[in-house]
Symmetry: D3
Subunit: 130 residues, 6 copies
């Protein structure tokens, strides 16, 4: 990915993101349409993720809240990693997820908590589930 | 509502919330089952909304993000008012809403932006849409 | 509608349903494709709604539960009327709606409670909201 | 879990529920916030699941209907077990699931039918899929 | 809007779209963040809507199918107008909407059919509902 | 399945569909209620899938768009196969999926792209992921 996106996007990747994550979408776009993949990367990373109106940590907590109620466990992992890297604690991440159970239901939050625990344990160098 | 919920919930209402909002649910619960209404109020307000793991402003931005992607315009208004009361600016509220368009689609964010503009204008004592 | 659907469907309409409701879909199908409208009526009413594996009242409560979490207020009204006609009380209808807040979130149940109160009041010959 | 929740909730667990199920949420809450986990258990089990306005079997069929259209297969299993324990037959459970295909689409009902067949077969001491 | 977006986007607007529609989002973005509004316009119109891999008419029918099952009636109108301008008939638009009832449920398709009839009647210079 | 559905449905199966796919639903219905399974097959295949108002390829692209935003990966595979059989290219299928990211969010399209790549690679006799 890093060899295709423009400078603004590349700067955000190196400062804020671990390169591997957005690569899933980029890898798929390479298969279907590399040029469009580049434009999507430029827009999402270069324009949306580069903004500073709210702190990066708050932005990731809002994203976690949204992905939780949308029931998108596969995309949660990357944003939990970003939140941890931005200094969010286990408790803050759990709070964002359980808080939105009021709005999106407990099953959606429960699935997100599973992903969060697994990701946090992995990040801490522990085996999942301990 | 204020005459039924317990002390913990009442404290949160007076410190953090404008009384009128949760009243919509309480009013409906009075019609169907006042006792259960009281328990729901005690749980949502007294337990969930009284917590301090994340700041009240961040909590409201996460809630706005969740309600946006769930496409629940009718419930957004109250939480935008809470966010404003917690010191969130117009720009921060807009950012939380437009940020999650990446995850929940632009139509959902667009509807939320409409509610946000209307609510912010009302709060500023201006007529909506100006 | 009644002049187009087949005998099995017509029997269900006269025994279980107030004719006006499904008419909204039929009316729209008449505009786009009357023949397909007839087939849809035959299937939904003649096949699905004619079944007796669970009681008609339970079927309507399950339908109300589903429409609540799907956030489809416009379609709830008809099924609340069917539930009332099948002997469901105000309390039972409210219970089906508020019960699923655990799974689909409180905003969805709140919107459904609004429609339910309005429909129950109308059915009781009272003005809405009293 | 059973050692933390209050008496009302514990009574419902012993009378109506197999202890293992809600334990998934409790176990996750123990990781993130045990105190909040207790309050959630007290509310969902002690307040919502202890009610008798509609029969426990009807309540479970409504829950199955809601989880089906929400596409939450992971949470369906427990409620299918509760429904079976409350005397629901294979046919009644299948009916609640397939009935809501009209409202939530056939793919959601199809996924729920898969979980239901597997759970019913397991409960009957047969290997899944036979 | 037209004065802010770049040349690629402007070309697509003048060739394929009626200017007023995307203006709703642009107008809201002007209120919250005009610079981001421009970037979103450049991306959605200039990159996504300018593509030719599938015919514009097929693209609009796919969009109508997606907005139908997402239950986003407010955004459907513009895309039904684009479909009509691309030569889609009333029957083709109705078919895309009713076809997806199998996947997203009949209530979602019913609401979309209402919007479609109204929009088609307006486009034909007739009063809605005739 | 083929031994139960009526002639109209059987004709569509042999002309347009690979028999195995709809068999998942039929197999499940055989377990719960074979008679209703037959009626559902007659309706979906015999009535809905037999229509010609829009070309079969366009119909499949609309279905892919709808299943993408509904986040129903398990049902996508069959319709991607139908689309390929109807002459849709890899690029056209990818376009229908990525196009609706604007409306249903990028995570839903990303999951659908994964299924599409896997299915297209399998159809081409290659191992998935190459």
């Amino acid at each position: 990915m890093i060899d295709k996106i423009d400078d603004a996007a590349r700067k955000t990747v190196s400062e804020r993101m671990n390169e591997g994550r957005m690569g899933v979408l980029q890898d798929l776009m390479d298969y279907f349409d590399p040029e469009l993949g580049k434009e999507i990367g430029n827009f999402i990373i270069g324009k949306m993720y580069s903004r500073s109106v709210i702190p990066w940590k708050t932005r990731q907590l809002c994203t976690i809240a949204a992905l939780t109620v949308l029931y998108r466990p596969a995309q949660l992992k990357g944003h939990i990693i970003y939140a941890l890297q931005a200094g969010a604690t286990k408790e803050e991440i759990g709070e964002a997820i359980i808080q939105v159970a009021i709005y999106g239901g407990f099953p959606a939050s429960l699935e997100a908590l599973k992903v969060a625990r697994e990701t946090i344990d992995e990040a801490a160098g522990e085996s999942p589930g301990t």
